[in-house]
Symmetry: C2
DNA sequence: GCCGATTTGTCCGTATGTATC
DNA sequence: CGATACATACGGACAAATCGG
């Protein structure tokens, strides 16, 4: 839990934007006003504003002010956001989650697995296959590869609850960065075995490499979602030049 | 073209990382070293490093240094990155692009369109439907809605080349922020009419709202990609708390 | 285990440039 | 033209984490 000043300001402004205390298309108070309001330096308010801009909440206009461009979105299907566990995502989407561990095995990364996952050849891994239920329906099939030395005593029982809780809570691992690639792939026989595909012949696939706070990759995951329960959101800003 | 100092440092470091002058998992020079190398203040190198961290190039480790975690990725299919036009994406992916304008019409946003696109009800829009070819194959179907007052004299001829070139070059519009949602939807009859679906019954769909530098939304686009020529990349960092 | 050197994280105050009005 | 607002940059201070002696 960060007690940093900029983070407090960031959260406070974010809350005021989401609650529509500041309204869409209006200007926020100027940096100078915010300095007085939060009793801090200009750099500190600018840092908070920069984070909000990066997330698409506000847009700074040179010489004019900072405009609120946040619009609430309807969340029908399962929306994927930042780095979070399935459990966290489900809670954010207000759905009941459960998990069934289908496979649990120790393997060694051969050339093929190494190229696919980004782990070095010869690395000892734990491979887990899990079926995810939302409100009782099997909708997501996860294939996880964890670096064995970092998840030491991982068991199928833990995998059925939340591996991230275990890593962060028990092992003190800090999850830092995740690189994700999103593709659409044909449904495999395995997919169809576990998930009622409802006539779809494709899956929405998120492949991700996750790094801890030492910069070592400890996870590769391929998460295969049934198309109609999948939504991914993103904000991009254009780099000039 | 930004001539800012931090941007120069950012580009220089990025190039050195991509060219593997700095190698994977090694530490970059410390901030103090970079200050001397670039003859600037600490804030300035830190800003450049922060951008690289946000893009997943490096990972800062408190008390230790900044680690290079960049791995080059194989780019087989059509990879979507930041905010860019189809033309720019095609060039980045080294593919030959062409466009066919299927529809070009002026419409008014009714309730349904307003909810779908984010434009206010009653707004006058230009609707364009375009088929995109990569290396001669029709693979993407775009549905664009532009705010009419901002794209004044847009013609089908311009739409066949690059609307972004026209907006940025001719009209002086600056594209700033884009909010995107990615879903997988069943292929429609329209999709199948123009695109050889190769047995797929789904499309990868990117819906985006784009804002100019005044913070007004001037575009809504739904871009429907054939699944096997689609790839979307993203880097997420975990917020503690 | 402690101490000091190094390195990143946060915050401050100030100066100057540029865009808007 | 001057006032306001955001953008960039500098230098300094202290905290927190890491590492070697």
């Amino acid at each position: 839990m960060p007690k940093a000043k900029y983070d407090h300001i960031y959260r406070d402004l974010k809350e005021k934007i989401e609650s529509e205390y500041y309204i869409y298309q209006d200007m926020l108070p100027s940096e100078h006003m915010l300095i007085r309001e939060y009793d801090c330096s200009r750099n500190t308010v600018r840092r908070a504003l920069a984070e909000l801009a990066a997330e698409g909440y506000v847009q700074p206009l040179h010489g004019k002010g900072v405009r609120n461009i946040f619009q609430p979105i309807e969340q029908t299907s399962f929306t994927v956001g930042g780095i979070e566990s399935f459990k966290e995502s489900a809670e954010r989407n207000r759905q009941k989650a459960s998990t069934e561990v289908v496979q649990f095995a120790e393997i060694m990364a051969d050339r093929k697995i190494s190229r696919k996952t980004g782990f070095r050849e010869g690395a000892e891994l734990i491979y887990i296959q899990r079926l995810r239920f939302l409100d009782g329906k099997p909708l997501i099939l996860d294939h996880n590869y964890f670096l064995k030395e970092l998840v030491k005593d991982l068991t199928p029982e833990i995998a059925a609850r939340s591996i991230y809780d275990y890593l962060e809570g028990e092992l003190g691992v800090t999850i830092a960065t995740s690189k994700r690639t999103l593709t659409v792939e044909r449904a495999t026989q395995i997919d169809e075995k576990y998930i009622d595909m409802n006539d779809y012949n494709c899956m929405a696939v998120i492949s991700s490499q996750t790094f801890d706070d030492n910069g070592v990759q400890f996870e590769f995951t391929q998460s295969r979602h049934r198309p109609d329960y999948f939504r991914f959101q993103d904000v991009a800003t254009r780099r000039k030049g």
